[in-house]
């Protein structure tokens, strides 16, 4: 079944790169949705069902950690895998994301192999 994905990053460049990397990683990608921050991501999730969320941490309006908490607190979305893809490498942020239920934490810069490996463990 094709994987519908939501990519959340305030950088259009990173959103483009992640789309490309997903397709390079032998993932059967279906619909790809994009959001520029956590608030936009929540609006997208209300309108579209997805199988995976890739989210940055440092974003305006609503950051990735706040988005993760909102997703995990929502009955319909609680089981949705959320992978954090971020420059933020501090141990406290990694721990916070793990405690909130993140399915993975990929640090930028990332390679296609890292994305592929992380997805292989999930799907």
């Amino acid at each position: 079944m094709p994987l519908d994905v939501l990519i959340v990053d305030d950088s259009a460049a990173i959103r483009k790169i992640l789309q490309r990397v997903l397709r390079q990683a032998d993932v059967d990608v279906g619909q790809v949705y994009e959001a520029g921050d956590g608030l936009e991501a929540l609006e997208t999730l209300k309108r579209h069902k997805v199988h995976l969320v890739l989210a940055d941490v440092n974003m305006p309006n609503m950051n990735g950690i706040q988005l993760l908490a909102q997703i995990k607190a929502h009955a319909e979305w609680a089981s949705l895998p959320v992978i954090m893809v971020t420059t933020e490498g501090s141990q406290s942020k990694v721990m916070e994301a793990a405690q909130l239920g993140a399915a993975g934490y990929i640090r930028k810069p990332f390679s296609a192999e890292q994305i592929k490996d992380k997805l292989a463990n999930l799907f």
């Binding site: 460049a13 440092n58 305006p60 950051n63 420059t87 930028k108």
Partner: protein, 178 residues
């Protein structure tokens, strides 16, 4: 803050970003210190850092190198050899700055404690004046990339009254541009 430690962190972070995301190399040139950032042309991206230590990270390069780096990052052609700088190019430079300064921050946090990072701001122009009202010198770490020069600047000083770090919501250091 030891200048050598900053240079080491910048070199490691820049090398990793260039090899992993851009598929090219950035050769370290001779680092130096300056009182004020001597940048008046080209594409400049800067990011505020705040915690027990506070300051700014900045990357700057000529428009032609910005276009080349955007082409490598996004795997599309952006005005090769020209001076045109599109939104895609500015966004790419902002993201490269985010990755380089973010990884410098991650490396320096081992010694300086947790720091928050602002969202990058990127500027393209000519004949502008850059002025920092912060205390302390800037460490300038130049790189040669495909025959052109990219400079990474870091200015960090102990905060007078450090605020609690809330990642992703820090105000940038004040830089006045004329």
């Amino acid at each position: 803050m030891d200048t050598d430690r900053i240079v080491q962190a910048v070199a490691a972070a820049t090398g990793e970003v260039f090899s992993t995301m851009l598929g090219t190399e950035a050769a370290l040139a001779q680092p130096y210190r300056e009182r004020m950032p001597n940048v008046s042309d080209g594409v400049v991206a800067f990011i505020g850092l705040a915690g027990k230590w506070t300051g700014t990270g900045m990357i700057s390069c000529p428009p032609s190198l910005a276009c080349r780096l955007a082409s490598l990052l996004l795997m599309a052609e952006y005005a090769p050899g020209g001076d045109a700088v599109s939104e895609d190019v500015l966004d790419a430079v902002a993201e490269i700055a985010n990755m380089i300064i973010g990884n410098v921050k991650n490396l320096l946090e081992e010694e300086l404690g947790p720091m928050g990072m602002s969202i990058p701001t990127v500027i393209f122009g000519r004949n502008f004046t850059t002025r920092s009202v912060g205390q302390g010198d800037w460490t300038v770490v130049p790189f040669e990339c495909e025959g052109q020069r990219l400079e990474v600047r870091i200015c960090l000083a102990p905060a007078r009254d450090p605020a609690p770090v809330r990642h992703g919501f820090q105000a940038p250091d004040y830089v006045e541009l004329r």
